[in-house]
Amino acid sequence: MSMAPEHAPTMARLSLAQRLAPWMPVLLVPLLVLAGLLAIPNTSSWLTLTVSGLAMGMMIFLMASGLTLVFGLMDVINFGHGAFVSVGAFVGVSVLLLLGGMTGAPSLALNLAAMGLAVIGAMLATGAMGWAFEKVIVEPVYGHHLKQILVTMGGLIVVEQLIIVLWGPEEIYISRPEALKGAITFAGAALEKYRLVAVGLGLVVFAAMRWTLRRTKIGLIVRAGVENGEMVQALGYRLRLVFVGVFIAGSALAGLGGVMWGLYQEVVSAHMGNQAMILIFIVVIIGGLGSVEGCFIGALLVGLMQNYVAFLEPKVALISNIGLMVAILMWRPMGMIPVVKAK
């Protein structure tokens, strides 16, 4: 007869490190902000950089969220996502140029109304385009990553060229609406108004997205679909329709991000989507493909990192994001918040 295994329950509380471990990704953002405070001698420039880093992060999040959700739900990797960013920016800027009277007036209400119209126009255009893109380009290559990458890349090239056909090859310069120009001073630091708006908008979109995913029925289906698509279909939901909806929503968000990004840089070009894709990919990989929360945290980290490093050592700025990605992948090879698939 064998002895019963020795029963030695550990009653000790988990150590602080063990209890913190699950929260590490969330804590990384304040940690990075603190590190920035230590590295940057001047508090007011630190505050300015933090706000612009957060603003940049929020805009990247807007652009990247659709990509990560589409991947999580349908295992579709869309290299043409940047096309929506460009198209959104061009449509938005065209609307703003049309509404020159409203953006030129020094009234906040009129300016915000013009911005709102531009954003709505851009989101409608990119949403419609997302629907067409899904039908024409993505649908025939479901379940085939290699072809998806090639075909969506081809789609990106075509859309970029069509933008040049429609809007001409030159970059379009655009100035921000009158009331959003300039900066306000807070605690000795100059905070650009536009960046504050971007931070606010990003937070609202993130909250709305989280609420939709966590509190509504459609969100439940989407989350269940990410985890186990076949099971959701077996329960009688047409996941295909849900997916098309998510794709359209993701494209529209990329369009929104494109408008914000275009106004942030005050210039739009046909290649801006392609350039944004680089940051988007870094963010999505850092966050864990398919995870919206991971994407949010990743975007903030990248935005902050880029701004801090650009201030301290301008030449290293772009490499710093690659370095961040490498560090995170060494720590968690699947990204910070990996999506666990029930297979």
Binding site: V141, F281, I285, M325, P333
Partner: protein, 350 residues
């Protein structure tokens, strides 16, 4: 004999064999058949791109891995030779040092990127290479002290490869000078590298790669370390791409971000692989030849077509020679859908 040179991978189609033979003869005798600065330049470009596309096909067609950093490796090789010739003097030893160092650096970089991304998922590789390649392109244009920045570097190749060096009078009306030698360095280098790639993909290693492409899970189950093979393929392909870059630098006697590192070249490579045919080295030959020729000569035709429809709204802009990429993109998407095996696959099926 031919079978041994081609590593047993015969064209398996009469038309394909004839086309390949024609391309080989034209490239081998290009300076004599088509004398002229521009045509010989086109021929050299075709040679270099055949090697570059073949090395990319090892990854994409045989390994099933999409990389967007291939121009980076190409550029590393080109800048390796350029820097060596600038700093070590204009000798053949400098070329060897530069090409060797470039190939080693490219392989090492590919090894690191591969280890980071391929051990998790193959699609990570596509995204990470895109990010790294663009970072390197920006870095190269910023480190202008070393790389010449946006202007690039102009440098001197060994005297024997320059137009001032003469080793005879004339042969069939072609001046026997260093430029001719330089072309044959590029041609023979490309031929050797291409045959080497053909040897690799028809070796047991190539077979394992194909197995992994078809079903990586099953390949792992049979006992092949998938990560090991994928990383090895990445390194090999990067080294060959760097060598192709070295040849290109020797030919152009100039390197710059636009000629070696730009995203446009990456898109060209993708188009060449897909249109020629993925998963066969001969696809690289056909794709590179078709596309380089089309770029040099068809673009003019598009300009003519554009001027024909002058006055019709939008159409002239669509047919403008600068919108060339638009139609290539459409062609690219269509060929991925309908001819995933490309021209070579079509011809082989008869």
């Amino acid at each position: 004999m031919i079978k041994a040179v081609l590593s047993g991978d015969m064209p398996r189609s009469l038309v394909l064999a004839l086309i390949l033979g024609l391309i080989l003869v034209c490239l081998a005798l290009a300076p004599f058949l088509f004398p002229g600065v521009r045509t010989v330049d086109t021929a050299a470009r075709i040679c270099v791109f055949i090697v570059l596309v073949a090395s990319y096909d090892l990854l994409l067609g045989y390994g099933g891995i999409v990389s967007f950093a291939h121009t980076m490796f190409f550029g590393i090789g080109a800048y390796g030779v350029a820097l060596a010739l600038t700093h070590l003097g204009r000798g053949f030893d400098a070329i060897l040092v530069g090409a060797g160092a470039g190939a080693l650096l490219a392989a090492a970089l590919a090894f690191v990127i591969g280890l980071f991304s391929l051990r998790v998922r193959a699609i990570f590789f596509a995204m990470i290479t895109l990010a790294v390649a663009s970072a390197v392109a920006v870095l190269v244009s910023q480190l202008s002290g070393l790389t010449g920045g946006e202007d690039g570097l102009t440098f001197k190749t060994p005297r024997a490869l320059g137009p001032a060096f003469k080793f005879g009078d004339e042969l069939f009306g072609v001046k026997l000078n260093g430029k001719l030698l330089s072309y044959y360095v590029v041609f023979i280098g490309s031929l050797v590298l291409f045959l080497l790639m053909l040897r690799v993909v028809n070796s047991p290693f190539g077979r394992v790669l194909q197995a992994i492409r078809e079903n990586d899970f099953r390949a792992e189950a049979i006992g092949y370390r998938v990560v090991y093979y994928r990383v090895a393929a990445t390194c090999l392909s990067a080294a060959v791409a760097a060598l192709a870059g070295s040849l290109y630098a020797i030919w152009l006697r100039y390197v710059g971000p636009d000629t070696t590192l730009s995203m446009e070249i990456m898109i060209d490579i993708l188009l060449m692989v897909v249109i020629g045919g993925m998963g066969t080295m001969y696809g690289a030959v056909i794709g590179a030849t078709l596309l380089v020729l089309a770029q040099n000569y068809l673009q003019n035709l598009m300009g003519v077509a554009g001027s024909l429809v002058d006055g019709v709204p939008v159409l002239p802009q669509l047919l403008d020679a600068d919108r060339w990429l638009l139609w290539l993109g459409v062609l690219f998407i269509l060929s991925v859908y309908f001819f995933p095996t490309g021209v070579v696959g079509r011809l082989r099926r008869g």
